[in-house]
């Protein structure tokens, strides 16, 4: 079939975005590798780290997805007061800075946490959170909401008529409608969570209880900071990409990639399932996520009132970086989504597998010969954060853009809507919802990110997470908890505003 020969949309922005992602993921890796002198290969400890990394990521993804299935199903078929708010709030753990989340979890599951206090009161022995199960627990806390969102989207994509048809035929909804949907959505969800957990480092070490919980990312950290062995760092980063590639190929073999992000407000009327069970699942998931979050709030409130002025400066800088980063991220995602194709899909997951430390170090090596890194701290942070959030933005925008093209592409071709006009009059107005969601998510992720800024920033350029860490480093634990709360509140607020903004103006 011969396609119409015109370039409807300028391809340059897509190439630019693609090149940017490649430079920041593979390019930084090459920059690090070039600086390496000799490379001794992987040690036995590195192999142990690789093994642990894969097993904890598999375990975390497995549990997250397995738990998300009943929760998402319950949310899809039950409507209740506060459902929308609950779904928004479920986004919170995913955008929390790691240390804030860990302290929140420990306030519940730790040695002196609520759970052990309760166990102690009724004479049960203490349970320890530290170990493999602790790592999985924390990763589930971070990723269960994400998995739930992905799957909920899958459920809501099943047309209501099919449920009616199934109900009238008294046919099994599970085998007829839900199983095929899960086959399409679960592998992609599993992959994303597996990749997120793959590059985990602070969570794994802190809750893993010791050096047996060494991940590849920590081994990279050690190679750069402790041994200054850039060759090993680059090699380990390659290992991470290879694991990512294998995982991606396996996931693609079992699935077609599916999207998420559009309206989750709808409840499909259903005639099956147990109401009691559904609400049990919803309540359990909500408590699991909300109690640690509440602990973050409770611990943070006293510190809010003696926050030093510099924290507010840092907060403003963070908001600025988050907004720029979100716009960049969505711009890049849009350019790539309009281009489409397999290369874009690959570029879309690369950042998930990138080691934050290698990206930071590599960017530093690339930038340093030309300018003072501290002069570029905020722009580089915005750019790196935009790239790291790209996979999520792309997952949200890509299906929406595809839908617009398949519904209105020919009409637009007919009318001569090309280039900027096509974007302005057709694409943008029709993808406001997923775009608002992507913007909000990218902004919130950027708010909480500590990655690259630590290597670049000097005193005057600190962002809120960095300021929070600096407070902790200066014994100001209460103020740090306050800054943590401020960070959570601002991230959620940014997310909410963007997400809301996309919905208010969206036409059916």
């Amino acid at each position: 079939m011969a396609r119409s020969p015109v370039a409807i949309i300028n391809r340059a922005p897509a190439y630019l975005a693609g090149v940017l992602v490649l430079v920041l993921t593979l390019g930084t890796l090459i920059a690090v590798a070039i600086r390496a002198e000799v490379c001794a290969g992987l040690s036995a400890a590195d192999w142990a780290a690789i093994q642990f990394t894969i097993s904890q990521a598999l375990g975390s993804a497995l549990v997250s997805v397995a738990l998300a299935i009943p929760v998402a199903r319950a949310l899809a078929r039950r409507s209740f007061w506060g459902r929308g708010a609950l779904i928004t709030l479920l986004g919170a753990p995913f955008i929390l800075p790691v240390i804030v989340a860990v302290l929140g979890l420990l306030a519940v599951f730790g040695r002196s946490g609520i759970l052990n206090d309760a166990f102690g009161a009724i004479g049960l022995p203490d349970v320890s959170i530290y170990g493999f199960h602790g790592v999985v627990l924390a990763h589930v806390f971070f990723n269960l909401p994400l998995a739930t969102r992905f799957l909920l989207q899958g459920w809501l994509a099943i047309p209501a008529e099919r449920f009616r048809l199934a109900a009238s035929l008294n046919a099994p909804v599970g085998r007829l409608l839900e199983w095929p949907m899960l086959r399409a959505v679960v592998p992609g969800t599993f992959l994303v969570i597996f990749l997120i957990c793959l590059t985990s480092f602070a969570v794994a070490l802190t809750l893993g209880g010791g050096p047996k919980a060494t991940t590849v990312e920590l081994a990279i950290f050690q190679a750069i900071r402790f041994d200054f062995d850039l060759g090993r760092a680059a090699l380990l980063a390659c290992v991470q990409f290879v694991i990512c590639a294998i995982a991606a190929v396996v996931a693609w073999k079992v699935t077609a990639v599916d999207g998420f992000g559009a309206g989750l407000d709808r409840v499909v009327q259903r005639w099956d399932g147990s109401k009691v069970w559904d609400f049990t699942w919803i309540t359990a998931a909500a408590l699991f996520l909300i109690i640690p979050l509440s602990m973050v709030v409770i611990k943070g409130i006293p510190g809010l009132f003696d926050l030093p002025p510099s924290v507010f400066g840092a907060a403003l800088r963070s908001i600025g970086v988050a907004l720029v980063s979100a716009i960049l991220c969505v711009g890049m995602a849009l350019a790539l989504a309009l281009h489409g194709g397999r290369m874009v899909a690959i570029i879309g997951v690369l950042p998930l597998a990138a080691s934050g430390l290698v990206v930071g170090t590599g960017s530093f090596l690339i930038v340093f010969p030309f300018v003072r890194p501290s002069d570029l701290a905020l722009p580089v942070t915005a750019l790196v954060n935009a790239t790291l959030a790209l996979p999520f933005a792309l997952r949200s925008l890509s299906p929406a853009v595809d839908a617009v093209i398949s519904d209105y592409g020919r009409l637009a071709d007919q009318l001569g809507l090309t280039g900027w006009t096509r974007l302005r009059l057709l694409i943008l107005p029709r993808i406001l919802r997923p775009m608002g969601f992507a913007l909000g998510l990218a902004a919130a992720l950027s708010m909480g990110d500590l990655g690259v800024i630590a290597l670049f920033a000097d005193q005057s350029g600190a962002t809120l997470p960095l300021a929070m860490y600096r407070l902790m480093g200066a014994y100001q634990l209460e103020a740090a908890a306050g800054a943590g709360l401020l960070l959570v509140a601002l991230s959620l607020l940014l997310f909410w505003i963007c997400d809301r903004g996309g919905r208010v103006n969206a036409d059916v």
């Binding site: 079939m1 011969a2 020919r410 009409l411 071709d413 009318l415 009059l425 107005p429 029709r430 059916v508």
Partner: protein
């Protein structure tokens, strides 16, 4: 005048050939579903390039010309209006795709909306209009554009019989009146008999040369007889 010069349109294993000239006010395209009616229109509009042969308009070769540069307007089975734009914006797109309309052009949009019976509805969005009104708005957009050839790919299929007749009458009163040639796909032979001047039968991978509609229904060829049952 539209010319198919030994054209073959290929889509996967499906092939459609056409080799004829077409000159009439309204031409109906009929034939069994899956026979290639929409493919034929897509070939004229430029969504498919022929694998063999050439499509010409008034001796000008269309092959290689993008859809927007062809002398062709097309209405599809659905999604003929952008739901996020107002009716007058949708109609305005027929004049300038970037919607930077002059005062005269805005007046022209308003006049055309009057003409198709949508006076004062220009500021609404499509969702606020009935199905018939939406079809009128789409016709208005075709009407304001300068392109001489109009392809209608069953755009009125979802309307009730009375409403559909209204629309077909409106097509003759407005589009034909304005000097445009109309090619309309229909699955209802009665429509073809009553409204079309000529009929193209598309069946078994061949788009047959047009025949006047009185003649073809009075003495249907075997393929049409098979289709009519």
């Amino acid at each position: 005048m539209l010319t198919f010069d030994a054209v073959t349109l290929s889509q996967g294993t499906f092939q459609l050939t056409a080799d004829f000239q077409l000159q009439a006010d309204i031409t109906a395209v009929i034939g069994p579903s899956g026979g290639g009616k929409s493919t034929l229109l897509a070939g004229i509009a430029g969504f498919f390039e022929p694998s063999k042969g050439r499509v010409l308009w008034d001796n000008q070769v269309l092959t290689g010309t993008p859809p927007a540069k062809r002398p062709v307007n097309m209405l599809f089975q659905d999604n003929n209006l952008f739901p996020h734009l107002t009716i007058q914006q949708n109609v305005g797109l027929g004049l300038r795709p970037d919607l930077r309309l002059t005062q005269d052009q805005k007046q022209m949009v308003a006049d055309t909306l009057d003409h198709v019976g949508l006076t004062d509805l220009g500021v609404r969005k499509p969702a606020a209009l009935s199905g018939g009104q939406q079809s009128r708005a789409a016709l208005a957009r075709v009407l304001v554009s300068q392109r001489p050839l109009v392809l209608l790919d069953e755009p009125f299929a979802a309307l009730g019989p009375a409403m559909k007749d209204d629309m077909l009458r409106l097509v003759r009163e407005t589009l034909v009146q304005a000097g445009k040639s109309v090619v309309i796909v229909t699955h209802d032979p009665d429509d073809a008999r009553r409204f079309a001047d000529q009929v193209i039968l598309v069946a078994d991978g061949v788009a047959h040369a047009p025949v006047s509609s009185d003649e073809i229904f009075a003495n249907p060829p075997p393929a049409l007889r098979a289709y009519l049952g």
